[in-house]
Symmetry: C2
Subunit: 351 residues, 2 copies
């Protein structure tokens, strides 16, 4: 049996590693021929709610590349359905909510989550995967703001006008909604860990839409309560996109590891977050489409900027896109493993 690879978990805890661990957001997905073949038979929700299929898809990238972690094949919106929100994952669009939340009464419709029962298929998939995997399994969910952006907008949005207007116009209902979502998210994360997830990632994917004031007033209290309420003995990764200006605020809300996207250099991010906060990131997912020499140079720059101090997980700044070439990705994983040791030794790294 393959020995368990705990490089990812060590990096999450800020412990020294032999090589920088690497995994990719959306590492199971449309860029894989095997995934596309499955999607011809099943829609996304079927894959995410049928434990055998969930496990099969989750394992695809782990079998194809030397990634140091598996992430459960799922979606950030999974708790919404069981919480009473009719949400559909529409192909090529994203989550679409049938009856958006636009009033205090709508917030009353949102009910507490009972993960055991409501999301049993997820927990079963996690248990199955733990039998198979020799790398850590990451569970995940969307953060309250990101989830509520779908709830209020009714689907993906460009300007977040409805969700922001709801925050401003109905602050009590907003806080009620986020409180309910934070509770559901916390329970769901706990259930994933109880079932065997060895780390969890909270995706506040769209938090970058907010200015610092909105974050402090309408989001941070709920994130803080969420992170404070978690009594997990596994690392928690806190991630957002376009959140360069919010990093310290996100850190102060909580999470053991901060996910950083490509808008900020990783050495700047580490300086802002301090030496005790591990970081995950931060290659632009579109850079994977570049010719190998440029991709290589960008990947090495990430490693160089991450520096010799422990606590870096190599990843992208957002999910992989369908145009990605699987071979290029596989080569990138190997590059990170081969080249990172020299960057992890303080001496001899040109600055």
């Amino acid at each position: 049996m393959t020995p368990f690879n705990d490089r990812f978990l060590k990096a999450c805890r800020g412990e020294p590693v032999d090589r920088t661990p690497v995994w990719f957001m959306r590492q199971a997905g449309r860029y894989q021929a095997e995934y596309r073949a499955l999607r011809e038979q099943y829609d996304m929700m079927t894959l995410a709610t049928t434990p055998e299929l969930t496990a099969e898809v989750t394992l695809l990238p782990v079998r194809q590349m030397a990634v140091d972690a598996a992430i459960l094949f799922s979606d950030i919106i999974m708790p919404l359905g069981p919480m009473g929100i009719d949400v559909e994952l529409r192909a090529g669009v994203g989550p679409v909510v049938d009856r958006p939340v636009r009033s205090p009464d709508d917030v009353d419709r949102v009910r507490p989550l009972e993960p055991e029962g409501d999301l049993d298929y997820v927990l079963k998939a996690i248990r199955m995967l733990r039998e198979e995997l020799s790398v850590p399994l990451i569970g995940f969910v969307g953060a309250p703001f990101t989830l509520s952006s779908y709830l209020v907008e009714g689907g993906p949005t460009k300007n977040y006008a409805k969700v922001k207007a709801f925050m401003y116009q109905e602050p009590d209902a907003w806080h009620e909604l986020c409180g309910k979502l934070a509770d559901g998210v916390a329970r769901y994360l706990q259930a994933q860990v109880d079932a065997g997830a060895q780390a969890v990632q909270v995706f506040d994917s769209w938090v970058g839409a907010l200015g610092p004031q909105d974050y402090d007033e309408f989001v941070r209290p709920h994130m803080k309560r969420l992170f404070d309420s978690l009594e997990l003995d596994v690392p928690v990764i806190h991630f957002g996109v376009g959140s360069a200006a919010l990093l310290e605020r996100m850190q102060s809300a909580g999470g053991d590891v901060i996910g950083v996207d490509w808008h900020v250099y990783l050495d700047d991010a580490r300086e802002r977050l301090g030496p005790d906060t591990p970081v995950q990131g931060n290659l632009d997912p579109i850079a994977v489409l570049a010719p190998w020499e440029l991709l290589r140079e960008r990947a090495l720059d990430v490693l160089r900027r991450a520096g010799p101090q422990p606590g870096h997980i190599f990843n992208l700044g957002h999910g992989l896109i369908p145009d990605t070439d699987p071979d290029q990705l596989s080569r990138l994983v190997d590059l990170v493993h081969e080249e990172s040791p020299r960057f992890l030794r303080a001496e001899g790294v040109p600055s």
Copy 2:
């Protein structure tokens, strides 16, 4: 005749003003009943290419509110058509390009701009407006990266995958394209100023999609060449959205005034940019949908953070959205005029 109000121009030059000048991006637009009425008769391109109509729309907000500047009613893509790109402004979508630029050969299709002739209707509208206005008239255009994002993607995009992939895969063609666009943009700005525009704004609206490396390698050289080539005796405003992490880089590329969006506090932005760079911004355009008390508080916070040093133009961090209430906006203009004097005096402003 109304005396000319030069408060906006003074602030652009970093000179002291009696009150903070204020105008809004997209201050003529769908939120106005008068504009919607015109749009029932004419499409957007007709309004932007018929001097009498352009002038009429440009004047709408100036007549309805006490704004300190007018901005020509137009679109950032105006030079593209005359440069040989078939581009259509599709209602509810944005600019759509019939045959996107995807190869070096496609770049060859892009031809130089001859603003006098090609864009005569714009220049005529500017001359007409100068007869009417007693506030400065701002001309504008899109920046090369933002324009090329439409050219390469074929329309609005979420992940900028095609334009980034083109940069990475065809760097020579990319630089050729941006060089041509920078030339066209420079000529167009010069022609607008020659016709009477008293300030110009370069909209690099989508530059926030890029990390610092991409900006330095693929965008900054063209922006620098563009700004260096301008021999204008009017202020040049350099604006981007989601560009919090790029502010210093944008400043180093050029422009007299830096536009700042709502992702960064204005005192932080001013500290980063230094005391000699005037700033424009930076209220979240969605905050205008908030109840008056919250909007008032946010607007005063912008004034407080702008501080007593000269060189602040009050604006939004992006364009007004159609849901905006015109009365609320008008009240905001008055608030900025009434309350700014106390923030412009160093003494007695609580920090």
